[in-house]
Symmetry: C2
Subunit: 444 residues, 2 copies
């Protein structure tokens, strides 16, 4: 993992005047100027506003009065999230250029915290699978950055911004984070307020993508302190600063639906990582040693189908309505999805919700005496070509189960980035960060 100085570690330099948010922004802008023509991570940018706000942030830091630890930090915002000063196009020709005239909850919180909203990043259509954008992987322009948070992960991977917002309902934050060599974080269910995010699915979340773990945690705190979690949820909880690195004593290996499709290189990289963890004194328990793990893997074998029923029913609105407005502007895959979901009934949905609840209970029982689950974040390196955003098999469980997950850019496949995934306990996001921090320190 490439060592990256976190933004928040510059606080002293900002106060002393030896660095400034203005200087930091200009460095990022220079990288963008050099590489964005190939990466195409941004859908829209607000450079002049960001420069003006960086100057204001610089003044606050020098006066010793930053609005938050992330005051002046530049952000990329997935184009599914509303921004008052840039259109929100949802990766869809139907919504191209649409001005929502307001900020979503997370962007409102970021602005209140003094952060810079530098640009909107590309997304697949409606944060689902169809891809109209031509964003490339920052490590290999012939490959996909993954999706649906394509531009956010590509932007962080290319060094355009230290942090970006994404979303995840299947694998839209962790998988592209794995492909782009960055840290991806999906919170516990309800962790961040999704108000003003054009995704309305019951286990969806706003995800954070960054180069440094402490920047991600500082952003998480900046969000929840200002606009909370989803209505009715307490939101991500934990200390103001990133918890000290803590060695995981016991990790459980879940194969998930992904392992059987993992590449030989990915499997080998994962096994080597496990050997290193064991050598450091971490116990890694597999299904061979523990029936609960075997039973969990069996129970989530069809979790993709379960997720399809839940998201298929919930997605009838607004998708069916969009087809009513102009079906010609929807991707053929979206039209197929509408057709496929016509036969779903409220009873199918209710049954799927019950199955999901039961899986969540089973997972909680399995992980009770362990620290986290460890597995891959993707089946291998980013696939070649830009049409497919890759295989989400390793990502669906944490999404459906509503538990926090991190993709750590510690592995390689085909000489390209691959993420090690840690999956935690619901509402114990801070503990997952402590274990993630330890693993980064010992493997970075």
């Amino acid at each position: 993992m490439k060592e990256v100085a976190s933004y928040i570690s510059k606080a002293e330099a900002f106060r002393a005047g030896s660095s400034s948010p203005v200087a930091v922004l200009e460095e990022y802008l220079a990288t963008i100027e050099a590489r964005e023509p190939a990466v195409k991570a941004f859908k829209a940018m607000a450079v002049e506003r960001a420069r003006k706000e960086a100057a204001a942030s610089q003044a606050r830091w020098r006066a010793g009065a930053p609005l938050s630890p992330i005051d002046g930090m530049p952000f990329g915002i997935k184009d599914i999230l509303e921004t008052a000063d840039m259109p929100t196009g949802q990766g869809s020709p139907l919504w191209e250029g649409f001005e929502t005239r307001r900020d979503c909850a997370s962007v409102q919180a970021l602005r209140e915290a003094g952060a810079l909203i530098l640009g909107k990043t590309t997304t697949t259509e409606f944060a689902s699978r169809p891809q109209f954008a031509d964003t490339t992987n920052p490590h290999d322009p012939t490959r996909t950055p993954g999706g649906s948070s394509s531009g956010s992960c590509a932007a962080v991977g290319a060094g355009f911004v230290p942090l970006a917002l994404g979303t995840q309902v299947v694998g839209s934050t962790l998988r592209p984070s794995s492909y782009c060599g960055v840290i991806g974080y999906k919170p516990s269910i309800g962790g961040f307020n999704r108000g003003g995010s054009y995704d309305y699915l019951s286990h969806s979340c706003t995800g954070l993508i960054g180069a440094a773990l402490e920047d991600i945690w500082a952003t998480a705190k900046a969000l929840v302190e200002r606009t909370g979690g989803d209505p009715g949820y307490s939101g991500v909880t934990g200390p103001a600063e990133l918890a000290a690195a803590r060695q995981p004593k016991t990790l459980l290996f879940l194969e998930t639906d992904g392992w059987e499709r993992a590449t030989p290189g990915a499997r080998a990289a994962f096994e080597a990582a496990c050997a290193k963890l064991k050598a450091e004194g971490c116990e890694i328990i597999t299904g061979k040693e523990n029936d609960r793990i075997t039973a969990m893997d069996a129970a989530i074998k069809d979790i993709a189908k379960l997720s399809d029923v839940i998201l298929g029913w919930e997605g009838r609105w607004p998708l069916n309505g969009y087809a009513r407005i102009d079906s010609g502007k929807l991707h053929p895959l979206a039209l197929e999805r509408i057709e496929r979901n016509k036969s779903l009934t409220l009873d199918d949905y209710k049954a799927a919700l019950e199955t999901r609840s039961a899986l969540r209970e089973r997972y909680a029982a399995m992980i009770e005496n362990a620290d986290a689950v460890v597995t891959l974040a993707a089946t291998g390196a980013a696939p070649k070509g830009l049409d497919s955003t890759g295989d989400p098999g390793f990502n669906i469980p944490a999404s459906v189960l509503g538990v926090p997950a991190l993709s750590l850019p510690l592995l390689e496949d085909e000489g390209l980035p691959l993420g090690l995934q840690l999956i935690g306990k619901v509402n114990e996001d801070a503990g997952l960060f402590a274990h993630g921090g330890w693993i980064i320190e010992n493997f970075g």
Copy 2:
């Protein structure tokens, strides 16, 4: 209660050709033409589209192939709910004329069911308390129709539409229904999909306002079958047709925070209603006879404050962001609210959520062996003047507790309408309708 032939009772006449959705629409339009200049219920109308769709509906009925029992039924839609063909202004000068370019979930469902979206009805600012609209009460133009679903309740009360959509997070459906002499229904929490409704509060809901109970139930079914409940909720469940009227054997009287402010006329009307119910063989249990009721009334004494903390925290987004865009276009009361809520913390909110959960458990235990709670729907007749939308004291409990409630237009105060409120058990909305039907039949 004025007897109103339900829309769905006309099905046979529609099939036979002795009546038609076109004829029904024209009757409503004639009433609107005569009375709307005084009532001012509509913010926008789509008359020509409705006429065109009524003709299509008429053809479907005559071909024996209506899309649903509410095919051709004209609706008023609270102006907080997105409509593809009319602006959504949220009762706010800041959002005046804003085109969201799509239908909210409930409007999408209505269109799929063949219903006519006749117009957008006025709301208070952001469905909260400040009132910019000048809608009047259809029974007395010097009085408020109540709010926040001002136009929806006024429109049904004036005979402009058989049904309208509102929302309720405090008392925004039941209280104006009481003032306007119509039936108001708020569902169990999560009962209807609120996607595309500009209200994001955790115990908010989409409410239905109608002149006939069976039309309301038919609408409820049309909604949930097409776009479900809120994501993660099963939505309103029950039989396809309104359950047969069923006498409530045991009703519990909750004073709520409202009783001590109820007018002498309202109290007398309620007591007379209870005497009638008792004479018919319904047992009505009060706090005098049952400690659980006394304890519940004590526990909800400060429920308005609890609700203020929850909604105050949740409402920081988007309200604080709107002030950032143009605070001059917000009502002074909204600016006060922003100031007041600045001191709230995530910990205050978490504590309030825990209190709310405990109250919900307490309520479930209290009502377990009874059929429903009975109380007033408002403290009296609609107040004079248009500035205040009235006292929600009787409405907050069902909202915070997430349980279904009906306001039945059976009482009078000052010679004006007053609602009898029935509050039910969570996810047993169909049973509440059965009891409501019995009470209407025996008191109408």
